[in-house]
Amino acid sequence: MEKCRMVFSGSGGQGVITAAIILAEAAVLYEKLIAVQSQSYGPEARGGATRSDIIISDSKINYPKVIQPNVLVCLTQEAYNKFYPIVRPGGLLITDTRYVKTQRKADAVQKELPMYQTVMEKIGKPIVFNICMLGVVISMTQLLKPESIMKVLKTRIPPGFLEMNRQSLDIGMAMGDGFSK
């Protein structure tokens, strides 16, 4: 398996870092893969675009940061403007239609999806927006099984909220479907 290098970006409240952690944790704990997650960190770095790097692989990972992601997710305009140039040529660039108006074409498979809108329509809870995004990513990359994500979620959130997250994950999976490269 090639190392998969991903960057999730957006704004503080959107939970991109949480999504990154869930993804990497799922890979490590439930898919016997090796993963490293890191972030441009911290409350003192408040404001501006948040970014989290994830590398998933079946072999040892030394350098933990991502320079050229083959999967780049941008959930705000600021994040998009800042990061779209770093996507690996031929890589995958995922944006949300509500928050990002893509301008120039990046040399990558570019997916503009109405993730936020759909989540709000079908579930109405913005908190699970990031899980929907995860659904898109795993279905597009075929990196790991949705069950693994759900297993992690079980350890992190109250039972009452699981169903909502499952739905959101499915919505994302559905949107991602057919795009798997």
Binding site: I34, A35, S38, G42, A45, N62, P64, K65, I67
Partner: protein
């Protein structure tokens, strides 16, 4: 999935390792990028009946753990640059009074407030010389979570073995990065417990009289032996003395107990050193970038090797000299203006072989930074 496989932040790993070592008292004051250590301690310690204290500042935190260590507990505090500077006076007190404790400094960009959220390795020499007066110190670091775990346990073990504070010099990248950790079964890693005196109640106990093997058995405050602890020069009972023989004796003891055991204290890892023509020397998170370069050059048959230092102080001069004996070039990879570079140059023969690959702009050093230096050194230019 096995209970003891975890996916954690380096700071959390440090906490789990401390608990594995038997820590049950922590006092600290929040500061980026070490805060998660305090936060995780606040959750975990009460679960095992231990005590977590958030003090009014770092000075108080350092003082509190010293007090708690005296009653027989394994203790820790954690901070970053500015807080570490504030701890120097009390750190010197722990050195002088020979009280075991572990101080974590998760390094960020300095000097001063510097770059609170960026990585750096700028406090290496402060860890060595930050407290006033002659002294010796043990300082260690690590580059990956399994090592963070083992090095933290080693820190507790050395603190007890030599009755001294031990400093863990992590950095923002290792502290905040998340990766896999496998927690060994209890007993999987041997622990050094507090060496308590066998002297019976009523018999004269000497808190500062070393045994043959150089170790000083302790007696818990609140126990059957009442003695004095002071930051003044003191005799074997712990009472102040300015008798020149007593002073010189203690002065030398404090330094010698550490530097005479440099090889026992030294922890390091070697990668492909046997036939290496170019040796990278690195530590902490920058060793990951160095190893990245080494392994990927090796696939191309280039004879690169890496010496990763886990123990920084006392500096393992002899070991470094030996390992580097046959290297054409030695490149120190670190994120400061060359703090370990100086030590390496002092250690090896013909120091002209020693080069520096560093970054001081707050950006995590990456493989290309190192590759470029190698090209330059090898005369290949940009």
């Amino acid at each position: 999935m096995s209970e003891n496989v975890k996916f954690l932040q380096g700071n959390e790993v440090c906490v789990e390792a401390a608990l594995y070592s038997g820590l049950d008292f922590f006092a600290g004051y929040p500061i980026t990028p070490s805060t998660e250590i305090a936060e995780h301690m606040a959750v975990r310690l009460p679960q095992i009946g231990g005590k977590f204290l958030q003090m009014e500042d770092e000075i108080a935190s350092m003082c509190a753990i010293i007090g708690a260590s005296l009653t027989g507990h394994k203790v820790m505090t954690a901070t970053s640059g500015p807080g570490f500077s504030l701890m120097q006076e009390a750190l010197g007190y722990a050195i002088m009074t020979e009280i075991p404790c572990v101080i974590v400094n998760v390094q960020r960009g300095g000097p001063s407030t510097g770059l609170p959220t960026n990585v750096s390795q700028g406090d290496i020499l402060q860890a060595r010389w930050g407290a006033h007066g002659d002294h010796a110190i043990i300082a260690m670091t690590a580059s990956n979570h399994q090592d963070v775990f083992e090095t933290t346990i080693a820190a507790f073990n050395l603190a007890e073995t030599y009755r001294t504070p031990v400093i863990l010099l992590f950095d923002e990248v290792v502290g905040h990065m998340r990766e896999k950790l496998v927690i060994p079964e209890k007993g999987g890693i041997p622990l050094v417990e507090r060496l308590r005196t066998s002297v019976k109640k009523g018999v004269d106990y000497h808190p500062y009289l070393p045994r043959e093997d150089g170790r000083l058995p302790m007696s818990d405050f609140g126990g059957v032996h009442r003695y004095n602890v002071t930051g003044l020069y003191h005799d074997m009972w712990g009472f102040p003395s300015n008798n020149p023989e007593v002073v010189q004796g203690l002065h030398r003891h404090l330094v010698d107990k550490i530097i005479n055991h440099v090889n026992q204290i030294a922890r390091y890892k070697e990668y492909y050193l046997e036939d290496a023509e170019t040796i990278l020397i690195s530590y902490g998170s920058s060793a990951r970038s160095a190893l990245h370069v080494v392994e990927n050059r090796r696939t191309r048959g280039e004879r690169l090797g890496l010496l990763e230092l886990n123990t920084l102080w006392p500096f393992p001069y002899q070991i470094v000299r030996e390992k580097c004996a046959n290297a054409k070039q030695i490149i120190v990879v670190e994120m400061n203006i060359g703090q370990i570079l100086r030590a390496v140059k002092r250690a090896v023969e013909d120091p002209e072989r020693v080069f520096l690959a560093n970054r001081i702009d707050g950006v995590f050093i990456n493989p290309d930074d190192i590759r470029n230096i190698i090209r330059f050194i090898q005369g290949k230019g940009a």
